[in-house]
């Protein structure tokens, strides 16, 4: 059971909603993933295109918890404003602090991220913070009281998976709050790996929406997260340099 703030989830897969080929494929992918948490971005409406379709029309709003992000913010103050706008929607259960510090790599700004998390906690939000894999920064975020830390595996949308498994596992070991691996997951093997390291959950978007078959990939990711969690609980074998026979030696010399 994954617990974030006051919420409890059976699924350990959080899904982004960007860049799907179309809303029908997206709905099917969301259903196939069996996710219970959907992220969104907050953006100005185009008032000259009155009836723009919106993915929210495609799903049962009561079946999901919503995690809008503060993407677009470059400062803590901008992030807080976006969070408050999201809050006014009445379907903002949690807020994903995302403050980009580099347009090319979309890597987070540790200073503004820390400030925004503190300000949003004071405002009473349930705060999930997207951060780099800086181990001490993750601890500072936990000390502030964030409800989950979400270290990036690699740059957003890069599909490089977990570049630094050491930092990731150090963050997991030190944390008393959920650790959600966010950004950079490229395929199910990355998701399994994150869960095997002991992550509480995985948040991904492009790996599913950008796959040739997003619905099938969503199913694959669901299985991957379950498999990785089971593996973590089951306790994997140690890695050895030399071999260990699986067939017995006794009774061989016949």
């Amino acid at each position: 059971m994954l617990k974030i703030g006051e919420y409890e989830f059976n699924s350990r897969l959080l899904l982004g909603t960007g860049k799907f080929p179309d809303f029908d494929i997206q709905r099917d992918a969301v259903l196939a993933s069996e996710t219970e948490v959907l992220t969104f971005a907050v953006r100005r409406m185009n008032i000259f295109e009155p009836s723009q379709p919106n993915f929210l029309d495609k799903i049962d709003l009561n079946k999901y918890k919503f995690l809008p992000n503060t993407a677009g913010a470059k400062t803590a103050e901008e992030a807080v404003r976006i969070a408050k706008l999201a809050q006014a929607s009445n379907i903002c259960h949690m807020i994903k602090v995302e403050i980009i510090g580099c347009d090319k790599t979309l890597l987070p700004d540790p200073i503004e991220t820390l400030r925004a998390s503190e300000m949003l906690l004071e405002e009473g939000f349930t705060v999930l913070t997207y951060t780099s894999d800086d181990v001490v920064l993750a601890r500072h975020l936990e000390e502030l009281g964030v409800h989950a830390v979400m270290p990036g595996a690699s740059p957003i949308g890069s599909g490089q998976g977990i570049i630094n498994p050491l930092n990731m596992s150090l963050i997991i070991e030190q944390s008393n709050i959920p650790v959600i691996v966010d950004a950079g997951i490229g395929s199910p093997k990355d998701a399994v790996y994150a869960m095997e390291l002991g992550a509480d959950a995985v948040l991904l978007n492009t790996a599913v929406s950008g796959a040739n078959d997003p619905v099938k990939m969503a199913k694959a990711m669901k299985l991957a997260v379950e498999s990785g969690r089971l593996s973590y609980e089951a306790g994997r074998i140690p890695i050895k340099r030399t071999a260990t026979a699986s067939s017995p030696i006794e009774g061989m010399s016949f």
């Binding site: 982004g16 860049k19 971005a41 100005r44 008032i47 919106n54 929210l56 919503f66 809008p68 379907i91």
Partner: protein, 67 residues
């Protein structure tokens, strides 16, 4: 009257008195419409009560796909 809506100056009929009427005027249909009126973010319940006047600044914001 003239309003500054999402950063653009727009002429709208004087007959429009509230945010709700303004939303109707533009036929905005998003399941989640978030409104900021003169720098103040409105609760969804407030839309029908909040009066709009000439020169007001209004932001219409929504949820879109994001990761």
């Amino acid at each position: 009257m003239e309003l500054l809506i999402n950063g653009t100056k727009l002429e709208v009929p004087k007959t429009i008195k509230t945010i709700t009427e303004l939303i109707a005027h533009f036929d905005l249909k998003s399941p989640v419409i978030i409104v900021e009126h003169n720098e103040v973010i409105l609760k969804s319940g407030e839309h029908e009560h909040v009066q709009v006047q000439d020169g007001d600044k209004v932001e219409f914001v929504q949820f879109v796909g994001g990761g």
